[in-house]
Amino acid sequence: MAEFKLKAFDEWTAQDPFGKVKAADGQARVIGEPVVLRAARGAYASFRLVVTGKGDYALSASVGGGLNVELYKSWYHRMTSRGAKPFYTPDALVPLKKAQKLRLPDPENRIPRQKQQEFWVDVFVPRGSKAGVHSGRIVLRAGGANIGLDLEVEVVRATLPDEPVVVMDNNSYGCRWLAEMYPEVYGRSKGAKYWSKTIELLHHYYRISREHRTVLHNLGYGHSGLGDPIYAPKIAGRGRSKRLTDWKLYDAHYGPLLSGETFKTAAPGLPPARMKASPIWGVYTPINPDWPADYLWWGEPGYEVEFVNCVKQLDAHLRKKGWTRSRIEFFLNHKKRYRWYEWDGDEQKYAKDNARHQDMVDLWEKATKPSRVNWVYRADASWQMKRQFEELGGHRNFWVCGGFINWYPREVKRVLDRGEHVWWYGGYPAINAASSAPLQNLWRTWARGLHGFCHWLAVSPGKDPWFNCTGAATGPIYPGERFGIPGPIPSARLKILRNGIQDIDLLESRARKAGKLERVRKAIARKVPIVLWQEPPPAARRLPPEDWDSENLATEHEPIMEAIRSLEPDWWKVVRDRAFQEVK
């Protein structure tokens, strides 16, 4: 028993299974005993618990005052770098069952000479909790003896708002990846059963996102314009007689999201649902150049008739069902570089393509104006965003802007002043970046006064994220099947992001109430060394976007997150401390 030890570290200190701190995390920030945490009602407080020792053990945790504690075992992802010795980085979090038997070295993770095991500890403060300090304890049992670690959780006199003030979005594409990740869930299912399992799994991804104060988006159609049957009602006829005919799969998929029903329960293996079961923030639609109208008739009267009649029907269906709160996102994702269409729906490079957007918007408005449905015209703008802001604005716009947004503070302000919705997009950091790196884009979003940020892909951690991990920058949500969980599991990155969102929610709600939001925003911005706006490079000022490229802009256009390395690993503390200062 004497071999085992417990130590606590802050959430931004990750260590490998041998006790070495992740290079990007600087020095280990040990938390002494008792571990002192602070949280608002409806919020989580977290830390990392490290167990050193050898042999069998079990862990348990409890806190008084009706607070909940959850433990997750960190998975050490095996990574390699150009023939060098493999190294291990913790990220995926496997929820611990009650009285689960554990062993060091961990036979599941298969790390030769593993010396320690990290656990993520989440303490949740229910909304009705009493303010004040609540005591708790983590207990490790091994060989009939116990060792413990005391906790003190201060519940502050503030409650988190039901909905986050900025939307941090997890994007995803299609659903075929689920069958690859969950072969046991699917078994040999086909037809209706296959689609039912797909919908169930997708709902779990929506749930895990919501419970981490983020949103999941799942686009149903590919660049060709076609997708699987759960994303659109069936369609029949052509021209004047074209109709949407069978809503069964569409309703099974979207109904519970648009009513909020999905969020009444949690994803399997994870803590109970704690967020309010409200209708989802927004969903994509199946509308694209080849749905519901046949592109064969683009530019002809039949295209308009098919498009307007069917979109009217979709609108009527949403109204009839009462699904009018969530944003229904009319969005065009195709890119001409993939050769299906002659114009860019997404990340448009050529100004001439604006005319096609305008044609589509005209048809959409013809079909949906006026309507109680919360329709928005979502445009993912990059090269041409400055021009698009002017030429395509004024249509219930929802802009999702690429990294070039950095160059346009005045233009963005004008768009915000028009009352339009503005997000921007990029990626998650790879797991070997600083543990606090997922907060960088959250900070930029809030500090610039934007409404949200879209992580362009968040459910795809790679072919073998467990033993041959390439950084999992596109997958902070992992499949749980190898741990016997028929649904997704979270990661340290997702939890760090959630905790940061909580801080922003607390900060903004208090500062807004006190009428000093902009003052507070500016005061913190002075202390956070992240540049929010930049001058465009000379090529961007001299040339039209059609002539910009990665070489003359000296930047890659694809959304790969390059975490700022000069930041202190615990730079976010400034934001968190200010949030709690506002409570006092």
Partner: protein, 175 residues
């Protein structure tokens, strides 16, 4: 709907390819991709892998005309059929670029590729100017039609691609 036999699928795709060999205009095909886009297809920047895609641009009218032609050709058969137009990259022997495609069925297209080596059956179609049936594939049946310009030169091929009736995999949804 009754599932067609392999024999029927093959025969109808060969017939569709024969029609395409007559209907698809090689001169129109050559006007679709902009000169600059073709330059970047031919000479991709080794440092910036997305640059060829960033510069990809087409003449809207020519593209649309070709796309509609291919859509109609794909509907000559009464089962799912993808149609794609491939052109030779000028000055690069046996290197092809996809110019227009429809539906989600394709045998050769690599997602995001600016150009790619011609499959042997494409080379055969280009050389002989005849309709070619691609080698057997467990999931797909493919035929190729020659595309001629006004000089009678074969400048590209149209790919017809349908599910092999014997296939047990779902038709791809995401391309």
């Amino acid at each position: 709907m009754v599932r067609p036999t392999l024999k029927k699928v093959t025969a109808e795709l060969l017939e569709a390819a024969r029609v395409a060999g007559v209907m698809v205009d090689g001169e129109l095909a050559g006007k679709i991709i902009s000169e600059r886009a073709m330059r970047y297809i031919k000479y991709p920047n080794p440092r910036y892998r997305f640059m060829t895609g960033d510069y990809y641009d087409v003449d809207h009218d020519s593209f649309l005309l070709m796309k509609k032609t291919l859509l109609r050709l794909g509907r000559l058969v009464d089962f799912p059929c993808g149609t794609s137009l491939w052109l030779q990259v000028p000055g690069k022997k046996n290197e092809m670029t996809c110019v227009v495609q429809n539906f989600k069925l394709h045998r050769y297209y690599r997602f995001g590729a600016g150009s790619q080596p011609a499959a042997p059956e494409m080379i055969k179609c280009l050389k002989t100017g005849e309709v070619v049936l691609a080698p057997a594939h467990k999931d797909l049946v493919t035929t190729l039609a020659p595309v001629r310009d006004s000089l009678g030169d074969v400048v590209g091929v149209v790919e017809f691609c349908s599910p092999n009736p014997g296939s047990k995999t779902l038709v791809p949804a995401w391309s």
